[in-house]
Symmetry: D2
Subunit: 343 residues, 4 copies
């Protein structure tokens, strides 16, 4: 067979590990060849592609962050008029099946192509861990590790200066990174998009700490956190496709309120893009390698319209439709358990 793969959407540690694993499995287990389309969906539309060989070069990318294929943010809706072009390109290049690697938007595009007769197996990718139907996605563990390292460092600075430190982490729609990094980093409060925050409660939690003789506090805030309606005034920004209000700088805003009401020195750190780049953790390399190998196998077994997923210890196939019907959010009981850990 001749397979094609592409990476679409935001950067994510482990993308190269998936590509390597697809190439190696296809080559070593099935004697198949693989091409990679460049810069996401746009490379498929414009027929820009690279041959990927099972050689020393591909071996080396296991540790490398980013994606050797480049990525793009072309929305799947945008290529709806391009179906004939895509089919023609795939046929001309002799491609038997396509393995797109991407988040919720990418997998929607994959489903649409599958519904239109193109043999597709998807690989879910998101540092946010918000793809439905899979326990975890690669990149998430790396993002949590980077955020946790940062929180570890901020503890001692906060403590030496009797400060409240706000750490804003990624997570526009879901709070998985905040939940895990907050728990791993021993945060004294964690705010996630799924549970609108009560600024009074956060202020009280900090006041309680200082009254008990503690000298500092660490608060982890997901970038998509929103206050309970009516409790705090701010520019709401745009409403996005999921109906969420996005707002740049919620960490800063919470920090300003605490400073004003607790009277303690407060600093805000926005971790930003360091959460999504660089060498993947061992966990993410293993997960990405297993995803790639299983996607290559699924293609050779003709199981199209599917998506690889982690269920417990096993990689299984789910229907692409299940992966895209909704975002996977933090369940209430996970957040409640975390709250007992708040200092």
């Amino acid at each position: 067979m001749r397979l094609a793969t592409l990476t679409s959407g935001g950067d994510c540690p482990g993308l190269n590990a998936v590509i390597r694993s697809i190439v190696r499995t296809a080559s070593a287990e099935y004697g198949s060849t693989v091409v990679g389309y460049q810069d996401g969906w746009v490379g498929l539309l414009e027929d820009r592609r690279l041959d990927l060989y099972d050689d020393e070069e591909i071996d080396r990318i296991l540790l490398r962050g980013g994606t050797i294929l480049g990525t793009g943010r072309l929305h799947p809706d945008k290529f709806r008029n391009g179906l004939d072009q895509i089919k023609a390109n795939l046929e001309d290049a002799g491609i038997d099946a396509l393995i797109p690697i991407g988040g919720e938007g990418t997998l929607k595009g994959a489903k649409w192509l599958s519904d239109n007769g193109i043999p597709v197996v998807g690989v879910p990718k998101t540092i946010d861990n918000d793809v439905n139907g899979t326990d975890y996605t690669f990149g998430f563990d790396t993002a949590v590790s980077v955020a946790t390292d940062a929180i570890d460092r901020l503890h001692t600075t906060a403590e030496s200066h009797d400060r409240v430190m706000i750490v804003e982490v990624m997570g526009r729609h879901v709070g998985w990174i905040a939940l895990h990094a907050g728990m791993a980093g021993g945060a004294h409060y964690t705010v996630i998009p799924e549970v609108p925050f009560d600024i009074d409660e956060i202020v009280k939690a900090m006041q309680r700490r200082f009254q008990m003789g503690e000298k500092y506090g660490i608060i982890v805030v997901a970038e998509g956190a929103t206050p309970k309606e009516g409790t705090i005034d701010y520019d709401e920004g745009e409403v996005d496709q999921y109906g969420h209000k996005t707002f740049v700088g919620m960490g800063q805003l919470i920090g300003d309120e605490i400073k004003r009401r607790v009277g303690q020195d407060v600093r805000t750190t926005v971790l930003g893009h360091i959460q999504r780049g660089g060498t993947p953790t061992a966990y993410d390399r293993v997960l990405a390698t297993r995803y790639g190998a299983n996607a290559a196998r699924a293609v050779h077994e003709g199981k199209f319209g599917s998506c690889v997923a982690l269920h417990g210890e096993e990689i299984e196939l789910i229907d692409l439709a299940n992966a895209v019907d909704e975002l996977k959010t933090v369940p209430q009981h996970r957040y409640e358990l975390a709250q007992w850990m708040f200092g």
Copy 2:
């Protein structure tokens, strides 16, 4: 309620995170108190214990490797005559329930105590990931990370010197660390206890690499690896409780054979105890925290004779009997998939 906990068996990153989580959940959610017995089972027998308070001190241990309670290797069979003493000690100290944290041996002891009327909830602990009935145990991710970091470093040295590097990792009875670290580290061959190795095949794999122009090789060997019967002569050492032959230095032995037959420079590194100490990864801190909190909850809900376990995304309770009936080994299909990744 008044709970007691203890840590038993080998050191494991995350033990302190479990202890902290038990104390905090018991205190904050239920208003209960916690004592810790020192040095494992022997501390319970000799009534050596510490009061554990939900304070800044306990907060700090989240990041600390080892166990603030100390650990011991007293075999559960050894305290079979001590049941009356244990019961008396628990009663005198006003302990309502016991949460032992340990591996397969410790959980067997926990089950025996439970069978003898003591209210027990177990927490599985092993860097080897060999406890049955749970997807993963804390400490495993840290061990894999440390081993993977080491393998990453050895790649470039091996390559610069045209060498075969053998990395012996922990895993006397099961190959989970070798499997994951080998996959994450891009090893060119991985040997696990579950699959007796064929030295001819390893030699051929290395020869094939060098014939194809590659300049080096990395082989990951679990310490408990054993050769196919009759294929290689060595001192077998003792047979342990699980019927496995243990042998110190299998990495060295494989290295010697490769050196002799491939004629390439070969070096062996035994990673040893650095795999089981130090600050836990973010993954292990989250898992350990969840285990501790759920064990404390189970105690307060009267669900004795059980053991916390990770199933997919959720922490659930299993019967202690299920945790100890056999070791969890690497399934055949996991090892086969890994083999396609061998360089």
Copy 3:
């Protein structure tokens, strides 16, 4: 003898290693005792102090970021009226000599106390590496390491998305962190306070990269960077004690210009406080330990009015006056050499 120490100014990895080393050297080599004043100079004025014992507790702080004594930002000028109080407090506590650990401001205070008859030996501390008369200060290597790790991660994200990434690092008056992290991280341009930047030149450097087929760029900007006069409009902010104009957000401003003129996607990351917290690097632990031990020795040898300093491989004593007469800036030839490394 009975010594006192205190830590003043911003948090810096290695402070605890200095404290431990003073205590241990004083105790083991001279049989002396040590007390620590809390929260910097204010603790000395208010006589808030802790006895520091050469025990397991002090041993453990070697790895800990922050300072167990707390720190404060009381300016030395502020206690000029407090000289009698300070003298009385030191006498009442039976203190024979004082070892203040701090940056340029702290050492000025130390000199003033020394000039007024108090036996003082200073220890220079600054993550910025701007103390005169010493090759390096502890904390600097840790800050550079944290910044370099971040830059390493941003490379792959920038590359995957064809972006220019701006990384703003610490350094309000001097560019040492930017210079070293930029060189270690392979930045394609680095901007330091010592050399006013020409926005046209930065824009051209990026254009040149893209014209040559490169897909991305990394620019490291010290927070205190300033443009050549008249080349760019911005709110100048306040003028500080050194006559520098400070401006929060120079990285963002440079990024905006590049976006406008190069037409490439640009993102800015402000690393912030993670550069000054957490476990020190091995380099900083060794330097801090040597500083502390040599300061304790200098006190016992009666060499007051001095400050420890690194010269090549040796720790030597310099006159406190030399440490505070001016900030140590990046010399022209160091920046020029770095420029040849710009991609």
Copy 4:
């Protein structure tokens, strides 16, 4: 001009950073070209070389351990008959000057070539930090960091199990790695080749710890440590070129004695090759980059027969003869100061 470079001797983090810096400086500052001979001196003799271009490829190697040129251990004496061949090869390839990168042996070879009329500028390289005339060599900081990380991890395991842990680190002839890693890691005893050890004293130091209620001990042993004459029986192994007796396994031997005499559980970890591979620390990347750039400059300024060296904050040129006349050993006062830090 047309320059050549080569890397010889053991692997060392930062070699690629030097190569990159030579290529970039030669190209960007002088418009010169660079070739690299493969596998050390043997590549020069056999005229195996690669053109090195100032492109994205060379940029990427900054972070990579090992050496893209390969290395070899051909002793300089071995090519004494090859002088004519070397001269012919250099002439045929149009090489104007040679920059060999290596340790004491390599620099001796460089000096011999220089004495025989070949324009040479050397770059010192050794993880052991034993090259004379320079404060530090790149690779040393990385080796110390790796060893310190390992010691950090061993502390908690040792403590949890009431053990003495022996950590054998690199350093056959000098104890720099042991001295720095022991100090950074808070070791309770450190043994270096420069000071023959007294096993009675080590045993007593451990006994003292346990008598004072401490529960564990960490001892760092340089691989080249030797006992005081007559104090301990062991197979002495071979005497090497420097007159030192080498012995594989001194850590184990010390451990056995402690176990026998202190009656405590003892474990030995031999860190081995992970100390010399992998991504260099930020410190080593900066030092290597400066070495490479200054070597390229020295060549263009005609300063042959020299070697780059770090003196304080500056890179200077020393005579090659000074770099090779003896090994740089740990001075007595450095070891004495470290002893006060022993726990």
